[in-house]
């Protein structure tokens, strides 16, 4: 049902059941908000979006108040603006005064609002509470002093990731967002996915930075810094530096990384190809030996952490292969740089990932339990952008650079890892080839594509029908696990990405939720698959080379030691 309402003395059409904010968004009137998130039910906790409605004594929150036929709304009346400004001033009263030194400087919603609402003085003088920064976990840092208790992180953690790692502790002005018994995220059910960072309006949640460490390595004469980058990086860089899609972004990126000081640049997608080879033969092995199914992919460290912490009974289903980041690190250290005449101990492997959990993964996985990690530093996409800016890399003037001769070819299957369903698609291509000796036709599996949280496909491979499911948004996996538990579902392979829609929306990407950007990032990856000549991992010439020179046949015991890992139950509360 449609009816007219009056907004700022203009007649506007509204639909029954929608909120005032829906109407305002449609007609282009912006009301500020700090707690609202598209796709979540409003909590009405920040009160910034209040508007004046004739006949209602109080101001009403536009995010949750339903439109009614008789309504006359004023969105920016003096009373409303005074209220918003006062609320903001109240928030700022106890907020640390260190914007210039804050990681979120220039991208902080609180800062934007202070500018928009013309806050020009600190109205209330309050000592900001001395609270400890939670630096306990390698991926995420929490500074409760900067937290405005909007609750977005909690809702994402509860509803999207489903681990409930944080909650509001205490009451009233003593409320803090935290963990049980103030223990810190590292011993918590937290899976370090970083989705909370994505939605945090202030600098309360950030990645734990490796920025300084990387700059130091770049400047160290004895060091041989190299970098590997994730499948989604080119698109994210193009987005951050406004590079046109028509440009050869991949090779421009290589140039930029070289200019930054990295001696060699590797595409992690190549290691993803190796993952696919090992995993495909591992799966066929499982199938033949009637070992536990479904097989769970293991490329997403948050998902692995979730299994280790909360569902250890499924450890046996988890693919034993290390993640592409770790494999790439291993290959770089063991084979590639040695061929370039470098000692492994001098090589400093940086990986740039759209992910905070990768930081955690790198810290906790060392070569043969030694002091040498596979990867020396993991930076997020955001951190790399900062490094580029710091070092004055001007993308408009860069020319594409040819790739390094060694180990830089990858198939587009490895590239597909960046979006949910992509890993599965690439895996099925190689399984098909390994089982039948023929290429799958067509290679593209439409059922596994698109911005959906659960995608399912039935794929015929020879005489065998494989049921596969790709789930993204870790909270959605619970239903699937229930189905598996009750045995009602004959699923062969499950791919899980903790972040909704996969790494294109990872916790290390540029902050803020924006579906348009997600679509662009996703399309960039699918476009590569369209244009690439090598679309399957097993056709990547490097694979042949690797298996001939360094590795035994896929899934052999020698490779097990190098590329696989045995996973154990996590130690959490």
């Amino acid at each position: 049902m449609q009816f007219d309402i009056d907004i700022n003395n203009q007649i506007v059409t509204a639909r029954k059941g929608e909120t005032i904010k829906h109407v305002l968004d449609r007609i282009g009137i912006k009301v500020p908000t700090l707690c609202f998130m598209e796709g979540f039910s409003p909590t009405g906790s920040c009160r910034m979006c209040v508007v004046e409605v004739e006949g209602i004594a109080q101001l009403v929150p536009s995010c949750s108040y339903p439109v009614q036929e008789w309504m006359k709304v004023y969105t920016h009346s003096p009373r409303v603006i005074k209220a918003r400004k006062t609320i903001l001033e109240l928030l700022l009263a106890s907020h640390p005064n260190d914007c210039l030194y804050c990681d979120k400087n220039g991208q902080c919603e609180l800062q934007y609002l202070a500018a928009e609402l013309h806050v020009r003085e600190r109205k209330y003088r309050v000592k900001s509470a001395s609270v400890q920064i939670d630096k306990s976990c390698p991926g995420i840092e929490r500074d409760p002093a900067k937290c405005i208790l909007c609750g977005r992180c909690i809702r994402v953690c509860d509803d999207v990731i489903g681990v409930g790692a944080i909650d509001i502790i205490g009451r009233g002005s003593n409320s803090r967002i935290g963990t049980a018994f103030n223990k810190g995220l590292n011993v918590d059910t937290c899976v370090k996915c970083g989705q909370c960072i994505q939605v945090c309006p202030t600098g309360a949640l950030t990645e734990k930075q490796s920025f300084e460490k990387v700059i130091e390595a770049l400047n160290n004469k004895n060091c041989f810094p190299v970098i590997q980058f994730s499948p989604t990086l080119p698109a994210s860089i193009a987005e951050a530096f406004n590079i046109k899609a028509s440009k050869d972004i991949l090779n421009i990126l290589r140039t930029a990384l070289k200019k930054t000081g990295f001696r060699q640049v590797f595409d992690t997608s190549m290691a993803a190809d190796l993952t696919l080879m090992e995993e495909a033969s591992g799966f066929i092995d499982r199938l033949n030996k009637h070992e536990p199914l479904p097989l769970f992919t293991s490329c997403c460290p948050s998902w692995v952490k979730f299994i280790e912490n909360s569902k250890p009974e499924y450890l046996k289903n988890l693919s034993s292969i290390r993640s592409p980041q770790q494999i790439m690190g291993r290959l770089i250290k063991q084979y590639i740089t040695s061929s370039a005449g470098q000692k492994p101990e001098n090589v400093f492997v940086v990986s740039v990932m759209p992910c905070t959990a990768k930081k955690d993964e790198a810290v906790n996985d060392h070569i043969n339990n030694s002091d040498t990690p596979f990867v020396d530093a993991v930076i997020t996409t955001r951190e790399l952008i900062q490094i580029f800016k710091l070092l004055g890399i001007d993308f408009s003037a860069l020319e594409p650079e040819p790739k390094d001769p060694a180990f830089s070819t990858r198939s587009s299957a490895g590239k597909l890892f960046g979006v949910s369903g992509g890993h599965l698609e690439g895996l099925l291509r190689t399984i098909h080839f390994m089982m039948t000796g023929q290429e799958m036709d067509p290679l593209k599996i439409n059922d596994l594509r698109g911005l959906k949280s659960r995608k399912e496909a039935r794929v015929r491979i020879g005489k065998q029908i494989l049921n596969v499911v790709a789930v993204s948004g870790l909270a959605n996996v619970k239903t699937l696990l229930d189905e598996i538990e009750t045995g009602g579902n004959d699923i062969h392979i499950v791919e899980v990405m903790a972040c909704p829609f996969g790494c294109i929306n990872g916790g290390g990407q540029q902050t803020g939720r924006d579906e348009k950007k997600l679509k662009t990032r996703m399309k960039a990856i699918y476009d590569v698959d369209e244009e690439e000549i090598i679309k399957v991992a097993h056709k990547n010439p490097i694979m042949t080379d690797l298996y001939e020179k360094f590795l035994a046949v896929p899934n052999s015991s020698r490779n097990k030691e190098l590329l696989h890992i045995s996973r154990i139950k996590g130690q959490v509360q």
């Binding site: 009405g44 009160r47 209040v50 005074k82 006062t86 405005i148 009233g172 003593n174």
Partner: protein, 649 residues
């Protein structure tokens, strides 16, 4: 009593009393009823007020002392524990009823005095000084020279309807309630009325919710009744947590079955088969009484499945609160029942559409619910005859503070505040002057003597900024500092704020800090500090307006009330604090100015050593001095001086 006797009484009460709508009884029935109601007793009966306030005052010791007395004197008497009559200043209370005589009440019946009092009564000769009155009992002989309870000033202007049984009947014995017409309304309702009809009757009575905005109860019920859902819930809100309010506790402890019956009728009216009582965690005694009442009601077949063979199922569960003031707010209460943090949520949607576990839910407070049985028993017209038009029925209050009498009272709506203060409370005690009446709990207002002609009612109280939805009424005398009191309420509210919405969480904290600044002495007193305090006052008013305008729930919305009302009526006290740095009531200790009497000072040097600010100078054995600018008024010197040489103004 033998068990077969118990069954006989049960059957008699159900068949002859509950199922008899008319209330007219034949002679034999009337006679048996009089015995059950103890209007006629064959052996001495001693009643002890064992409500929480009685227990705090030592009623359990009194009980034991009486037990011992009866045993030692070999008196065959009955000892009955009753609820609280409401006259708290008289606790512990003991009533004695001898065969053939009326029931008389004693105040301050402490364990030491029991023997004395009982000796007096059993000798029929003299009345003890602590005897305060006797009940009207037509079947018995009265005590000469003793006033009737209902003529005592505390009771004379009251209109006791829902409190009519408290303090009189045994709350632990369902028969006592049944003998007075209990559960007759429930029986009548489920067998004769459709739920729609019940909503209509309640609507016609004009009953408005006593716990919130005064929304007509019948209309609210209809909303839930008409909401399409298989499952609906009724919640009785017994989370009475505002400081100084305990009238619902007195009701629950004194007459629990009235509440249980009310809940059952309300649940039937909205089509709910399941009801919850959400009782404040501190009400341990009330909880025990309620549990017993529910148990008895189930045994008698008034709760459970297919009650009275009507096919109606009603079950009532008790849930305890966990110590959060905010859970008195209905959406927060629902969150708490669901096992979550008790934070309120945005309305709409209202609980009547989407409440507990997402189902239509009605939340009524204890007082509203307790009115239901009498409305259905006597009809809406009867209820409308109490109070004024638009404000029908009664209101219960906890009357506390500096009045001569304090306790739980019930008055008809429309009663003037002055009548309550000067008649029921007997004015201010110790001959002090009345400063104000604080009404409406922590987020209520302070009403100056000039406004005492205001009548108790929803709209009339709203006009002076107060609300009917809280039952605390506190009498303040001249020794009360209004700024300090505002600070006290602000402190309470900011502590109890759930922290969900920013204006309430941060705003109340800032308001409290401003008030603290006004009542505290800074390290160094100068014009800048005065200006800061003055600026604080401007901010206080601005903050109050925004908090009121934007807070999510009633707690925040009303949080500025105490400050705004005291600013309105007692502004000069604020100004004295800010500019003159004086607290006329002497409550703000920090503003005291200390002096040393040179004649009394022996120069012992103790104050000098103890002063944290080094504000005291003087050499040993010589009189000391206090440097006023350095003194923060902490009073440590005052406490430590052995020669009473330090005094303050």
């Amino acid at each position: 009593m033998t068990s077969s006797g118990a069954i006989q009484i049960k059957e008699f009460l159900i068949e002859k009393v509950v199922k008899n709508y008319s209330g007219l009884f034949d002679k034999a029935t009337a006679s048996t009823l009089a015995q059950i109601k103890r209007e006629k007793v064959s052996r001495p009966v001693i009643y002890i007020g064992m409500g929480t306030c009685g227990l705090i005052a030592g009623a359990d010791k009194t009980f034991k002392a009486v037990e011992k007395y009866l045993h030692e004197k070999k008196i065959d008497g009955e000892l009955v524990s009753v609820g609280c009559l409401g006259l708290c200043t008289a606790e512990p209370m003991m009533d004695v009823q001898l065969p053939g005589k009326t029931r008389i009440s004693f105040q301050h019946a402490t364990e030491e005095k029991v023997e004395d009092m009982l000796n007096a009564v059993f000798h029929h000769t003299l009345l003890h000084e602590n005897a305060i009155g006797q009940y009207r009992m037509p079947l018995t002989e009265e005590w000469p020279g003793l006033t009737y309870i209902d003529q005592l000033p505390f009771f004379a202007l009251q209109r006791r309807n829902i409190l009519r049984n408290t303090g009189i009947i045994s709350p632990l014995d369902i028969n006592d309630y049944l003998a007075r017409g209990g559960y007759r309304s429930l029986f009548k309702t489920v067998l004769n009325y459709t739920p729609e009809k019940v909503c209509e009757i309640v609507d016609q009575s004009g009953l408005r919710g006593r716990g919130g905005g005064g929304y007509p109860t019948g209309k609210k019920w209809s909303m839930a009744l008409n909401a399409g859902s298989d499952q609906k819930y009724l919640i009785c809100n017994a989370d009475e947590s505002d400081p100084g309010a305990f009238m619902e506790r007195a009701l629950l402890e004194g007459d629990p079955h009235r509440v249980v019956e009310g809940i059952a009728i309300a649940a039937y009216a909205i089509g709910a088969s399941k009801a919850y009582i959400y009782i404040r965690s501190e009400y341990n005694h009330g909880l025990l009484v309620l549990q017993t009442a529910l148990q008895q009601a189930r045994e008698y077949g008034f709760l459970g499945e297919n009650i009275f063979g009507s096919g109606v199922n009603i079950s009532i569960l008790i849930r305890q609160g966990a110590g959060a003031f905010i859970c008195g707010e209905e959406t927060a209460l629902i969150a708490s029942l669901e096992g979550k943090r008790g934070t309120p949520s945005e309305k709409p949607p209202y609980p009547a559409e989407k409440g507990l576990f997402g189902h239509p839910t009605i939340v009524n407070n204890v007082e509203t619910i307790a009115n239901i049985p009498s409305i259905l028993e006597n009809g809406p017209a009867w209820f409308k005859s109490i109070g004024t038009s638009g404000n029908t029925g009664t209101k219960i209050y906890s009357l506390t503070g500096k009045g001569k009498y304090s306790g739980v009272i019930e008055i008809a709506l429309g009663t003037k505040l002055s009548d309550i203060v000067y008649s029921i409370a007997g004015g201010v005690k110790n001959g002090k002057k009345l400063k104000a009446v604080q009404l409406g709990g922590p987020s209520g207002v302070c009403i100056p003597p000039s406004q005492l002609e205001t009548e108790i009612g929803f709209e009339s109280l709203q006009e002076i900024g107060a609300s009917l939805s809280f039952g605390g009424m506190i009498i303040l005398d001249e020794d009360t500092c209004m700024v300090n009191l505002s600070k006290y309420f602000m402190e309470f509210l900011q502590k109890e704020s759930c922290g969900k919405c920013i204006p309430c969480r941060e705003g109340t904290k800032r308001m409290l800090e401003i008030l603290e600044g006004v009542t505290r002495r800074p390290k160094e007193e100068n014009s800048h500090e005065t200006l800061e305090r003055f600026k604080g006052m401007v901010q206080l008013e601005n903050l109050a307006a925004v908090i009121r305008d934007t807070s999510l729930c009633g707690l925040g919305k009303n949080a500025p009330n105490p400050v705004l009302s005291s600013l309105k009526w007692f502004r000069e006290e604020y100004e004295e604090h800010i500019f003159d740095r004086i607290c006329r009531a002497g409550e703000c200790h920090n503003l005291r100015t200390f002096y040393i009497d040179v004649d009394l000072c022996t120069g012992c040097n103790v104050c000098h050593k103890k002063c944290p600010e080094n504000a005291i100078i003087g050499s040993v054995k010589m009189p000391h001095f206090i440097i006023e600018q350095k003194c923060t008024g902490c009073g440590i010197c005052f406490d430590s001086c052995k020669f009473s040489a330090i005094f303050f103004k």
